[in-house]
C-alpha cells in the first residue's frame, strides 16, 4: 500500500483501471458524490474505445451539465436551455461525418426541451443523447424537475410533489421507445458497480446505432444528487435503488439491432 502517485504499471503489473484521454484532467465542478462524473467517464470511455473522439461534437445543455465541455477533449457547441437536440440536429446535418451527442439533465431534456427532444428522436436524427435523470434541478438550487418523484420534497414542492397539482414523474425512455426514429432506448442507473458497468454497455450501444446510421440513440441514467436530496452520497445511492428504480424501471426498451 502506497500513496506514491506512480501511475504507470510496474514490473509484473497490469493496469486494470486507468483514465482515458478523451476526458481531460480537470477536476469537475460537480458536488461530492454527484454521478455526473461517472456518466462523463462512461461516455469518454466509449468515445475512446470507438476511436471517434477527434470527429465528435458535443452539444452541451443548460443546468449542472452546462460545463460538460470543460471536461471532454472534443469539440463542443453550447445550446440554449432545452434546445440541445435541435442544435445537435443542425450539427449532424451540417457535418454528416461527425459523431454528435447531447448530454442533458432532466429539466433540460424533459421539461423545457421536450419538444426539441422528442422531435429530434422522432426524425431519427443520427445523434446520441445521454439523459441524466436525478429528479431535481441541481444548478438552480433544487427545484422540482419533470421527473421528481411523488412526495419528493424540493424547493418548489416544499411538502412533496403532489400529483393533483404537479402531475407525476415523466418516464422518458418509455416515450422514446415508442417513437419510430429511435433506434436504441435504455434506462440504467449509476448507483452500484454492477449498474455502472451495465450503463457503460448501454452508452456504447446508444453510440453504435448512431455510427451504424440506424437512428437516434438514447440512454437515460438514473443519477444521484446528494446535495439537493439532502443526503450523503451513500444514502443517495440507496435512494436510487429503493425509491427511484421502482418508479423508473431499468432495462432496454428498444434496440432495433435486436428486433
Amino acid at each position: 500500500m502506497t500513496y506514491a502517485n506512480n501511475l504507470h504499471p510496474q514490473q509484473g503489473e497490469k493496469m486494470v483501471f486507468d483514465a482515458n484521454p478523451v476526458l481531460n484532467e480537470r477536476v469537475t465542478h460537480y458536488c461530492p458524490g454527484c454521478h455526473h462524473g461517472i456518466a462523463h467517464r462512461l461516455v469518454s470511455e466509449v468515445l475512446h474505445e470507438l476511436g471517434v473522439a477527434d470527429k465528435t461534437i458535443l452539444v452541451a445543455a443548460v443546468g449542472c451539465s452546462t460545463f460538460t465541455y470543460d471536461y471532454f477533449n472534443v469539440d463542443s457547441v453550447e445550446a440554449p436551455h432545452g434546445r440541445a437536440c435541435a442544435v445537435a440536429t443542425g450539427v449532424r446535418r451540417a457535418r454528416p461525418e461527425a459523431v454528435v451527442f447531447t448530454y442533458q439533465g432532466d429539466g433540460d431534456m424533459a421539461a423545457i426541451g421536450m419538444a426539441e427532444s422528442l422531435h429530434a428522436a422522432n426524425r431519427g436524427e443520427k445523434i446520441t443523447t445521454v439523459f441524466i435523470n436525478n429528479t431535481v434541478y441541481g444548478m438552480t438550487g433544487g427545484q422540482m424537475a419533470p421527473t421528481t418523484l411523488i412526495g419528493q420534497k424540493t424547493t418548489t414542492t416544499r411538502h412533496g410533489r403532489n400529483f393533483s397539482n404537479e402531475g407525476g414523474p415523466i418516464r422518458l425512455t418509455e416515450i422514446m421507445a415508442g417513437l419510430q426514429g429511435v433506434a436504441y432506448a435504455a434506462r440504467c442507473a449509476l448507483d452500484s458497480v454492477k449498474h455502472v458497468r451495465k450503463a457503460k454497455k448501454a452508452v456504447r450501444l446508444a453510440f453504435d446505432v448512431q455510427l451504424d446510421g440506424l437512428g437516434f440513440g438514447f440512454v437515460e441514467l438514473l443519477a444521484g444528487c446528494p446535495t439537493n436530496w439532502h443526503m450523503d452520497p451513500i444514502a443517495a445511492n440507496k435512494h436510487i435503488a429503493t425509491d427511484m428504480i421502482p418508479i423508473f424501471p431499468l432495462g432496454v426498451f428498444k434496440d432495433v439491432k435486436e428486433t
Binding site: 457547441v77 453550447e78 440536429t89 443542425g90 451540417a94 422531435h119
Partner: protein
C-alpha cells in the same frame, strides 16, 4: 428542378427570389417552420436543396429551427432559416445565443402585422426587434431591407458574405409586399460576390475561438456564450462591441434627388419603394424633394443622413407607429426637423396616398 437549367431572367415572387438567391449564393442547410407570408421559401428549398446535396429540415417549431441554424452555423456551414414576425419572436433566444457565440447564419423575416397574431398583411412593425438586437443582452444583427424581388435575390449573397465575415446573425427584413410581389429577377451573382468556399475559410480566423469539429485540430474547439469568471463576460462584450463597431462600414443606402432637395423622404423596404414613386411624381411636378432609402437597417446609415441634414428637413414614412423615425432623429441629432408619417400595419397603400403627407411636410 435544376437551377442551372433555369434562365438568367425569371419572373418570381420575393420569397422565390430569396430561395433561388440562397441556393445560388451557396446555402447548404435550411431549417424552418411554416408561417404565412413566407411559405414559398421553405417550399422551394425543400426541393432545391436536397437536389444540390444540401439539407432541408422542417423543424417542429421556430425554436427548433433557429437552434438547428445555430448548430449548422457553429460548424461553419452556410445555413439559414426564414419566418414571419410571430415566429421571429420565438427565435430571439437562439439569435441571442448565436450572437453571443459568434455563430454565422441567415434569418429571413417576411414580417406581418402585429402585435400578437396580427394579420398577414404588410407591416414594418418588427423594425425595433430587428435592429436593436431583439433577444436578451447587448447583441446586434446585421439587417438588410430589400424593396424588390431583385434585392431579395441579390441580398442573399450579401447576407452570406456578412454572416461569415463577421460571424454574426444576418437578418433579411422584408414584408408581405416584398414577399409576394412577382417581378422579373436577373439570376446573376451581384458584382463583388465571393465564393462560399472563401467565406467559409474566414471562420478559421483564430481571433475568435474556433469552429466545430473537423477532426484536424488537436485543440478542442468550443462555441459558447457563457462567461462566468470574473471579468470574462465584460471582456466578451468588449469583443462583441468592437465587432459591431467594425460593422459600421457596411452601412448601405439608396439616394435619389437629394442634392437640391428641401425635403428628404426617408423610407425603407416596400414603403421605400412606394415612397420613391410618390417622390418621383412630385419631382415631375417641380417640387424639390429627394428620397433616402436605408438598405442596411443595422448598421444604420446615420453618417450619410447626418451629412444631408444641413438645410434639409426629413419626413420618415414607415408602416409602423414610428420606429425608424427614432434612428433618423438620432442620426440628425437636432440639426434639422424630422417629421414622421405612419402607415398603419396591414394596409396596402399606393404612392398617391403619400403625396399629400409629403406636400404637407414640404410646406409645413
Amino acid at each position: 428542378m435544376n437551377t442551372e437549367q433555369m434562365p438568367d431572367r425569371i419572373l418570381v415572387k420575393g420569397n422565390e427570389a430569396v430561395a433561388y438567391g440562397a441556393v445560388d449564393a451557396g446555402l447548404r442547410c435550411y431549417f424552418g417552420y411554416p408561417i404565412t407570408p413566407q411559405n414559398e421559401i421553405p417550399e422551394i428549398l425543400s426541393e432545391l436543396l436536397p437536389e444540390h446535396e444540401g439539407v432541408f429540415v422542417q423543424a417542429e417549431s421556430e425554436i427548433g429551427a433557429v437552434n438547428m441554424l445555430l448548430g449548422a452555423g457553429a460548424c461553419g456551414i452556410p445555413a439559414m432559416t426564414s419566418s414571419s414576425s410571430c415566429g421571429i419572436s420565438l427565435m430571439q433566444e437562439g439569435i441571442s445565443y448565436m450572437a453571443g457565440s459568434h455563430v454565422p447564419g441567415i434569418i429571413v423575416n417576411m414580417s406581418r402585422g402585429g402585435p400578437g397574431l396580427g394579420d398577414i398583411g404588410p407591416s414594418q412593425g418588427d423594425y425595433f426587434q430587428a435592429v436593436k438586437g431583439g433577444g436578451h443582452g447587448d447583441h446586434r444583427n446585421l439587417v438588410l431591407a430589400p424593396s424588390t424581388a431583385q434585392e431579395c435575390y441579390d441580398f442573399m449573397f450579401k447576407a452570406l458574405d456578412l454572416a461569415f465575415t463577421y460571424r454574426n446573425p444576418v437578418m433579411l427584413l422584408g414584408d408581405a409586399i416584398v414577399a409576394q410581389i412577382k417581378e422579373p429577377v436577373r439570376r446573376v451573382p451581384p458584382a463583388g460576390t465571393r465564393t462560399p468556399e472563401y467565406l467559409q475559410s474566414l471562420v478559421e480566423d483564430q481571433r475568435i475561438e474556433g469552429y466545430g469539429a473537423r477532426g484536424k485540430n488537436a485543440r478542442p474547439r468550443l462555441l459558447k456564450s457563457v462567461y462566468l469568471a470574473e471579468g470574462a463576460l465584460a471582456e466578451h462584450n468588449r469583443l462583441l462591441q468592437r465587432k459591431y463597431a467594425d460593422m459600421r462600414k457596411e452601412a448601405l443606402f439608396d439616394c435619389e434627388d437629394v442634392d437640391d432637395a428641401g425635403l428628404v423622404v426617408v423610407a425603407f423596404g416596400s414603403v421605400g419603394r412606394i415612397a420613391r414613386s410618390a417622390v418621383r411624381q412630385l419631382r415631375k411636378a417641380g417640387h424639390r424633394i429627394g428620397l433616402f432609402r436605408p438598405v442596411t437597417l443595422y448598421p444604420f446609415p446615420d453618417e450619410a443622413l447626418s451629412a444631408l441634414a444641413r438645410g434639409r428637413r426629413f419626413l420618415v414614412i414607415e408602416q409602423n407607429i414610428g420606429q425608424m423615425a427614432e434612428d433618423v432623429r438620432l442620426a440628425v441629432n437636432g440639426a434639422s426637423p424630422v417629421l414622421w408619417h405612419s402607415v398603419m400595419p396591414g394596409l396596402f397603400i399606393g404612392a398617391n396616398e403619400l403625396v399629400e403627407p409629403i406636400l404637407q411636410a414640404l410646406n409645413g
